[in-house]
Symmetry: C2
């Protein structure tokens, strides 16, 4: 077992070794990286009992904390795995192995001059730091994403999953070391908050930090490191039901966007309704939402139309709130322009949807809205790497730089320009200057 | 003339108006944006005398400061323009107009389910802040890049060019306003350091900061803002001359990389020579470098081979130094592995070159080196947006995220996912999950 797991080295030492291993990893052919993933998947299955025993240990401790009120029971639920959970871990590692190779892809080629060829080729970022909460399936899944894309990784999980994570990271390290001793530094487990604080300072050694957790957590990490951070802020998503909407579609979409999984960042928080169909749509949708257990908070016009004392008055702060719960705010607007202005003011540039059958209005909305996802007649819940067909997801980014929206393996790569010449100098360069892209 | 130029508003007000204008700009068709650029180019030519008069005013003031030792004469040189300089400004704006449109490009399309189509389409970032030193040609050039890519821009130039910049920014604003009153907020001039400090805090309103200047300046900006920064750190570039090098090519490349424009970030700072050809190559190249006025600092083996008392002893700090001047450090290495390790330790991931006729060695170098540019038998000086065929350059990035190496118009864009459905909900989604890329 790698010494990193035993936590005898400084985080800088661990990161340095991770970088060395990443250089080897970056040059491995596709099949070699896939073999490592497939062998790990096999090993996860073989060691299912060890994984479950370690998880039981973590769960026993956590159970006491839940009983003593020191841990939320939702955290406990995410911590606990099962035989099926372990089988899923292996399956997901195999799924990543089957994805197309994200590195070594030629994005563009151009001839700058006679015999002077420029190639733009994808390559790994290098070393990734990932900080996550209790769910132990992050270790196999994120490990697979990082290794598939040729990156080393430093993983810091929640202390409540310490035993489970140790066994799972140990499997990665064992398989890597068996494949090539020099790869032993590619997967590493950090243990304490102090480790994280140290990692955040390692500018030159770590290329990207992926914090998985709440908006506050992501912001905290971003504020405390000059290493680039990939993570999302808020998901204040809207559904706008236009005057030209098919109201059956609108009903289905609003219910799905709000109730399918309200804790997700791509769930809708606010419903905007065109006043021209409000008298028909608002009473119906409020009734359905209430029937689905949703608390409805509305503007004055909404409350009047709903004729239901149970629609609470929405205040200014409602428009700014990511409920992450079975609560929705509803506002009647005069036209698509007011809907767009509302979204511009209160939205978080995550995912915004319009329901309409009018092509011009749809185009106006799709072009005007500045968000990672802009949807026509579809639920905001589609904003997800698996549904987008990426096979696996690093996270969802609400940043506009590097990667926006659901991020797959591509988000863990960069590119380099390879220039092939034959003694070419700039002094003698006239240049063809053909655009490369 | 826009009030922004008269500096009556807060930077937040200016940025807010810039964002509003950017929404209009983002929806303009390609020809409209090109027309704005072409009209501006024409106006620059028509107003050449006003521009030159304003520049003369700036130069008069600067001349006094140079005489009093309060300004470097190199700064004065960059400040001064001429009839030809003004003609070049117009020509460069026209050149940007003739480039392919970077926005509205479809990067990928996939069918997630029946009648559920996902499009990944490029779009503008929104509002860009650009901070630069004396050169007044930045105002037309960066203005053209930002508007072409559908972005509004806040420009802060050096105070020494205040009059010239005011006339040039005024031309942009006049042309934009004439085209559409609502576009008047698209180009803005900031005036003071306090303006910059205020701009750096405007997270939600400004999407990207481009500081053009020294490494220290770029680092300072990055440290003082949580807005993403596009800029380069150091350019410590190496040329490695392998045992299998064609020594004539090596000679030409080393001389070009060092002497063609030593102040550029893509100039070579260190020459690495394989010991197998060192006895033939080192004396020759040292002689040529000295003849070109280059100060040579060498390792012990280099100094022995050069048999020239004029090769100064290189110290540890030389390997870490970007001279930006006619100085080079030279080291004899045992093999390509030592060259790669030296570059890994001391390089800045900017541009690295190998000179060799051996394919295996070339491949080893090209794959192993982690830098924005890795070159075979070509001068490091090729790392440049114009030479890469981008037509124009925002800057060179030594970051790995978003944009790496020379950055053209693409660096000023992001993308959004447009999803077109027909009432699709996640609850009913089975999915085709075809990879999007």
């Amino acid at each position: 077992m790698n010494v990193a797991v035993e936590h005898m080295d400084s985080v800088a030492d661990i990161a340095m070794r991770a970088r060395k291993s990443s250089r080897i990893l970056a040059k491995l052919p596709t099949e070699a990286r896939n073999t490592i993933l497939l062998n790990t998947a096999g090993c996860i299955e073989e060691q299912a009992q060890e994984i479950l025993a370690a998880n039981a240990l973590d769960c026993d401790k956590a159970q006491v904390e839940v009983e003593e009120g020191r841990m939320a029971s939702s955290l406990f639920d995410r911590l606990q795995t099962s035989e099926k959970g372990v089988a899923d871990m292996a399956a997901k590692v195999r799924a990543v192995a089957s994805l197309p190779d994200p590195i070594g892809r030629t994005l563009a080629v151009s001839e700058l001059d006679n015999d002077l060829m420029l190639h733009k080729v994808t390559c790994p970022l290098g070393v990734i730091g990932v900080i996550f909460e209790s769910r132990p399936d992050v270790v196999p899944q994120v490990g697979a994403l990082c290794l598939k894309s040729g990156n080393s990784v430093l993983l810091k999980g929640g202390r409540e999953a310490a035993n489970t994570n140790k066994v799972l990271a140990g499997i990665w390290i064992r398989i890597l070391t068996k494949f090539d001793e020099k790869l032993s530094g590619s997967v590493n487990l950090l243990h304490t908050r102090e480790d994280v604080a140290e990692m955040l300072k390692l500018d030159g050694l770590i290329d990207l930090i992926v914090p998985r957790g709440s908006k506050e957590f992501v912001n905290y990490i971003a504020m405390h490191s000059s290493i680039p951070v990939l993570g999302h802020g808020e998901g204040i998503c809207h559904v706008y039901v236009d005057v030209a909407a098919d109201l059956d579609k609108a009903m289905k979409i609003v219910l799905d966007a709000k109730t399918n999984y309200p804790a997700a960042c791509n769930a809708a928080e606010t419903l905007l309704v065109h006043h021209g169909i409000a008298s028909r749509f608002v009473p119906q949708i409020v009734e359905k939402l209430k029937a689905a257990g949703v608390e409805v908070r509305g503007c004055a016009r909404t409350r009047e139309l709903a004729q239901s004392a149970s629609v609470i008055e929405a205040t200014e702060s409602d428009w700014r709130t990511e409920y992450s719960d079975l609560i929705i705010s509803v506002k009647v607007v005069d036209d698509v322009g007011e809907a767009i202005a509302h979204i511009e003011q209160y939205g978080s540039q995550h995912t915004e949807a319009i329901v309409t059958e009018d092509q011009a209005t749809a185009a106006e909305f799709m072009e005007s809205i500045d968000a990672a996802g802009v949807y026509l007649n579809a639920s905001t819940r589609f904003a997800d790497g698996f549904r987008y067909g990426f096979g696996a997801e690093v996270g969802i980014s609400t940043s506009k730089l590097h990667a926006r929206g659901p991020v797959g393996l591509d988000g863990l790569t960069t590119y380099k320009y390879k220039l092939y010449g034959d003694g070419h100098t700039v002094a003698n360069f006239r240049g063809k200057q053909a655009p490369i892209e």
